[in-house]
């Protein structure tokens, strides 16, 4: 039990002393999660809108597949991405293995179904009166799409927060694709896995506290956004 207390003290120490390893892991985590979130939002929001807004054949099947992908194990995504970007893989020439870009690709694959599925649900839940109202105010197709998305912005924010939580805390992809290389691809979660593996539970706890703090900060700033 005492390593919990030790972990807390250690966390403060690591941050105040600007421990190079800790800060590089924090930076790597933030970079890679920001990148994967931007990619998955960029692709997932339009995809989710199309899926939620239009009716077409096979929509239910697609939703079922998407909902299944919500429970993708991170290690499976890691393995899949590894297979593609390993030097013998079809994308081997881009040398993405053991890079943050590689991790970002994997995390994008992880987050995309979350963003898409939640966006689709949110868009499906849009009041039918909204479209009618927009039409009657003279909105064109483009206005309708953008206004609809803006109307459900809080729902979309929830999609982003959920996806961010998953991306921020995953360890399987970062470990398998990133290789946990110190100062390069070591993220907070892989560092926690390593410290725990080494039996340094206090260091693991310290990094865990740092991770939770980041998540907390992100959510605080988003809820501030929400109030406005």
């Amino acid at each position: 039990m005492d390593f919990l207390v030790a972990g807390f003290i250690k966390a403060v120490e690591l941050l105040i002393n600007f421990d190079q390893g800790t800060w590089s892991a924090i930076c790597a985590t933030l970079r890679v999660s920001t990148c994967s979130m931007l990619l998955s939002l960029g692709a997932g929001l339009p995809a989710g809108f199309l899926l939620g807004y239009f009716d077409f054949k096979g929509k239910r099947a697609l939703r079922t597949v998407l909902d299944t992908l919500l429970s993708l194990p991170t290690v499976s995504v890691g393995l899949l991405v590894y297979a593609f970007i390993a030097s013998r893989g079809p994308l081997g020439q881009f040398e993405l293995l053991f890079t943050l870009t590689g991790i970002a690709i994997g995390q994008t694959i992880l987050a995309f179904p979350i963003v898409t599925a939640i966006t689709a649900s949110v868009v499906e839940g849009i009041d039918p009166e909204l479209k009618l109202t927009l039409l009657s105010l003279g909105a064109g197709k483009k206005n309708i799409i953008t206004t609809c998305l803006w109307e459900v912005r809080y729902g979309l924010l929830a999609a982003a927060v959920t996806a961010y939580g998953r991306v921020l805390t995953e360890v399987g992809i970062s470990m398998m694709v990133g290789g946990n290389i110190k100062y390069h691809t070591r993220t907070i979660t892989t560092a926690i896995a390593l410290e725990t593996n080494k039996g340094l539970f206090a260091d693991g706890i310290a990094l865990g506290i740092v991770l939770i703090s980041i998540a907390f900060a992100v959510n605080i700033s988003l809820s501030f956004l929400r109030k406005k």
Binding site: R31, V32, T34, C35, L38, A86, S87, R88, E95, L97, F98, T99, L100, T101, A104, G179, N180, I181, K182, H184, L194, T196, N197, K198, G199, L200
Partner: protein, 278 residues
């Protein structure tokens, strides 16, 4: 309106930054796969800055079990290997995956267990000790991850004429790294086999008062040889063979060998350099 512009500018900036920062400088860099023991003990953190300073080659490494490290080399995902499973290494070269094998250093494996030593193995030779553990059905933690240590442990069971006890209830396969496995052994008050370096590191963490002690040591078969392997350019034409050879030579150089010999924890040497000078 202004707020919208500001937000979109910030967004674009964030995208550019996150992409720009993802690409790594790659002019003279080497990717190594190594075993958890060299990384967990802190040897590489101590050694590699010297290498980078002297040669100007940036070295990155991923620490995994020897089994996976060999696989990464076979798939050309890395440029060079630092591993410790001599028999597997030799077979690896024979199959055409590896090219040069340079012995760098060794430490040895030991059997550790609770101070109370419930199976009474202290001082026995390794085969007798394992037989006693088996008959006593004392908990024994195995890495079970096909790492160099795990390969060695399997060899020891075989050598003692004991059928692999995979299915036995007292035989626990952790599937984790060495230190994690030692921690499991400590929790379960069981025995395990570890390399001496990791054990010293474990002792250091426990402030020298570790509840697990060395009970069996010194057999010749317990020797743990670490070697640098370069990959066969015929198999991996894109792997940086020349830089890998530079690394191999540097590790065997007198200065590096001295550094390895000087690396201590709790006043104890973790690795003993033994590279043959060519």
């Amino acid at each position: 309106m202004y707020r919208k512009k500001l937000i979109s500018t910030l967004l674009i900036l964030a995208i550019l930054l996150s992409f720009a920062s993802l690409s790594l400088a790659s002019d003279k860099s080497l990717m190594m796969a190594t075993t958890t023991s060299t990384d967990n003990t802190g040897l590489l953190d101590y050694l590699i800055p010297h290498f980078e300073q002297e040669t100007g080659i940036a070295l990155k490494w991923t620490a995994t079990g020897t089994g996976k490290a060999l696989k990464l080399g076979q798939n050309c995902d890395v440029d060079v290997l630092l591993v410790h499973a001599p028999a597997a290494e030799k077979a690896y070269i024979k199959k055409g995956y590896g090219k040069d094998r340079r012995e760098i250093m060794y430490n040895d494996f030991v059997i550790i267990g609770p101070v109370s030593d419930p199976a009474k193995i202290k001082g026995k030779n390794i085969s007798d000790a394992l037989l006693t553990i088996k008959n006593h059905k004392s908990p024994f933690m195995s890495r079970g991850d096909d790492s160099g240590t795990n390969k060695k442990e399997k060899l020891l069971w075989k050598n003692a004429g004991i059928k692999m006890p995979d299915q036995e209830i007292w035989y626990v396969q952790t599937g984790q790294g060495m230190l994690a496995t030692i921690n499991v052994a400590q929790e379960r008050a069981g025995y395990t086999m570890t390399d001496r370096g990791t054990y010293i590191k474990y002792q250091a963490q426990q402030g020298g008062k570790a509840p697990l002690k060395i009970l069996v040591e010194g057999d010749k078969i317990l020797l743990n040889q670490y070697s640098v392997l370069t990959l066969n350019p015929a198999n991996c034409p894109r792997a940086k063979y020349d830089l890998a050879l530079d690394f191999s030579n540097w590790m065997a150089s007198k200065s590096a060998q001295k550094l390895i010999g000087d690396f201590r924890l709790l006043g104890q040497k973790l690795f003993i350099p033994n590279a043959k000078q060519l």
